[in-house]
Symmetry: C3
Subunit: 259 residues, 3 copies
Amino acid sequence: MKFNNRNVYISEKAKIGKNVRIGDNTVIYDNVIIGDNSIICNDCVIGEPVNDYYFTSSYENPETVLKEGAFIRSHSIIYAGSVFGENFSTGHRVTIREHSKFGNNCRIGTVSDIQGYVEFGNNCWLHSNVHIGQQSKIGNFVFIYPYAVFTNDPTPPSDTCIGPTVGDFSQIAVGTVLLPAAEIGKHCLVGAQSLVGGKYDDYSLIIGNPAKKIKDVRELKSRNTDKSHYPWPYSFSRNMPWEHEGFENWKLKNGYEND
Amino acid sequence: MKFNNRNVYISEKAKIGKNVRIGDNTVIYDNVIIGDNSIICNDCVIGEPVNDYYFTSSYENPETVLKEGAFIRSHSIIYAGSVFGENFSTGHRVTIREHSKFGNNCRIGTVSDIQGYVEFGNNCWLHSNVHIGQQSKIGNFVFIYPYAVFTNDPTPPSDTCIGPTVGDFSQIAVGTVLLPAAEIGKHCLVGAQSLVGGKYDDYSLIIGNPAKKIKDVRELKSRNTDKSHYPWPYSFSRNMPWEHEGFENWKLKNGYEND
Amino acid sequence: MKFNNRNVYISEKAKIGKNVRIGDNTVIYDNVIIGDNSIICNDCVIGEPVNDYYFTSSYENPETVLKEGAFIRSHSIIYAGSVFGENFSTGHRVTIREHSKFGNNCRIGTVSDIQGYVEFGNNCWLHSNVHIGQQSKIGNFVFIYPYAVFTNDPTPPSDTCIGPTVGDFSQIAVGTVLLPAAEIGKHCLVGAQSLVGGKYDDYSLIIGNPAKKIKDVRELKSRNTDKSHYPWPYSFSRNMPWEHEGFENWKLKNGYEND
Ligand SMILES: CC(C)(COP(=O)(O)OP(=O)(O)OC[C@H]1O[C@@H](n2cnc3c(N)ncnc32)[C@H](O)[C@@H]1OP(=O)(O)O)[C@@H](O)C(=O)NCCC(=O)NCCS
Ligand SMILES: CC(C)(COP(=O)(O)OP(=O)(O)OC[C@H]1O[C@@H](n2cnc3c(N)ncnc32)[C@H](O)[C@@H]1OP(=O)(O)O)[C@@H](O)C(=O)NCCC(=O)NCCS
Ligand SMILES: CC(C)(COP(=O)(O)OP(=O)(O)OC[C@H]1O[C@@H](n2cnc3c(N)ncnc32)[C@H](O)[C@@H]1OP(=O)(O)O)[C@@H](O)C(=O)NCCC(=O)NCCS
């Protein structure tokens, strides 16, 4: 229904892999590289020119790389000059600015806004309506829930720009603000609607406005069982690379021995 | 100005009622049923195929029903597999996922995101930028204000999914987070930027992070008069079904005797 | 790459200035006036008809004025009946309703939602995902950060509509809610995720849920120097009109003697 080749415009300077489907009304600009077996839905813009384009006649669009297996849902805008690992996927109306770097198997939800100059590891999942400011640095298996906001200017407006960092496996719940330079360790849980500045150790459960570490996440029980739910990779495996063998086995083979 | 029949694509398997206007660049997919006297503005997608479409060659689009009098503003995306009562209306860029059920006279504001598998009664008004997670269950005459977020996973990520429930006439003010399984009774007011878990009786005024019931809403005065503003149906009637006869009379005829 | 004149529709009743570029798929409706040297990117709607259009056969579109140097990024929707000063710019997917008034050099970020019937002075910068309710009144050089929400109905739903006011140079940090009728003086800083009602003097530093004035902004140091960062125009000048001569000189010539 969607791939009728209506109003599709693909630059001659773009490289499109094998078995790539491109939806109606989508535009793919210069120097975009799309890997095999990708789906770009309708009304998307891939390789959106950066600001200089409007004001420089010699403008050359920076390279944009979407590796194999990308799945970009409709009305998304991806600026030129970013790199996305394998199986990158988005919801609708996502905006991703230049100089964004994503590892493999990352997902970004509907209407989320990535301001560029950010770095994500592998397997990060951002739900709908997440805002990531410039200079944020995020590890692997970090999940960020709706209306979470990552900031970078401590005393606005200023020329200081220091984004938050988040360690592997940490979870940032809905409506949370990470203040500039916040440092969240590995395996942390930041509770809903928290306002978080400062530095937190691995395994912290952080909540409140302003937020404090209230306990170790390993003390937080699941609602359905009496066991602790965290570190979550031991109790959650749907769509995770350890889905079939369990986290215990997987981690030993994949460099997460200490997790 | 808008209905010029430019780039409009309507599936032969869609059923379009009488006196329906469809804006430029709009796409209507298979098995969509649109009731009489509806307006679907420009750049909309109605009956967006669900995920299986991309991966199953035998895919059949689930039925989508928009009853009589729908008014969908531009750039909205409505997935296949939902049912909308009469006079359903949206702002711009609304996203509504599959298995959403809305009663009559509901409205959803610009950029709001309904994640599917939700149930709304009649006359619910969602303002701009509201996020409703799966498994939310909402009564009649519930109004939800911008940046309110309904969640469902208490210990993310997990396989638990228990949405909030909200009773008839309750009001959820801006920037509020309802935690998973929160239960808000009837005629409650949840104040701005509250973080709400747990269970609340009818007529509660709930505020804070974390939220508490601070008093009975019937004790909260209007700013303009000395009378109590709540329960609001007695003091607000613009565009309400009791606009002409008053709530007192209307409720007796409509099954709300006890409200 | 963007200005190929594909699917561009411009009303004969629109007036387009000199050296205006209009992107593909953009629609410009009746009685829109666009000043010289403007850029309207792809997929925009300028002069979106107001509600009456759908229901009144004699509908005439109100005038929409974008003065010289406008720069509207893609997928933005600007309703008919608003006036924008020189060098007005937007990010992507911005929605601006009727009866909005903006001074010169204002910017509005991606996905922001201006509900109409609002007034902004000169040089206001709204970042991504800001929500401004009706009847808000905002001075000059006011910057508003992501997920800030301006409200107007103190006891929803009601017929009362009293927006917040914000004085010159004040900064509204991320995730902040301004309650109806909040009055923020000049040179204030409202910290991240604050919930602000009531009235605040010039130079207040306001934080918390609910918010309080915690000190004078002039006591708040920059993270990089030992000096106070506020009032910020003395320490920040990038893209400001005082960039070359300094705020001290500029203010004397421009009517800000007392700032
Ligand atoms: C942090 C969290 C895990 C705590 O869960 P919990 O231990 O089951 O908490 P409880 O509901 O038993 O509440 C314990 C106390 O902490 C308070 N509290 C809970 N979450 C809080 C939060 N995010 N901020 C501040 N206080 C919080 C509760 O009000 C309660 O206080 P009380 O003892 O005075 O009544 C949970 O609140 C949370 O944020 N979950 C994530 C929701 C989410 O964003 N999911 C992903 C999107 S669907
Ligand atoms: C809950 C609400 C109705 C209370 O209104 P109110 O009784 O007039 O409250 P007041 O402004 O007189 O404040 C009373 C006290 O409660 C505090 N307070 C008010 N609203 C609060 C809230 N949402 N959360 C926490 N504290 C709140 C005030 O700071 C004040 O504290 P103080 O006595 O220490 O100064 C109001 O704050 C609210 O949330 N309104 C809804 C706004 C909205 O979202 N409208 C719809 C979109 S336009
Ligand atoms: C208000 C603000 C400037 C305070 O900065 P600061 O003085 O450097 O504050 P600190 O980080 O030293 O914290 C001082 C205390 O205030 C608390 N605090 C800081 N900001 C707070 C806020 N917004 N609300 C409530 N409490 C806050 C801290 O938790 C800390 O408490 P503690 O002493 O008990 O540990 C800062 O928090 C802020 O909001 N910055 C704006 C961020 C933003 O939105 N930037 C623009 C978008 S990028």
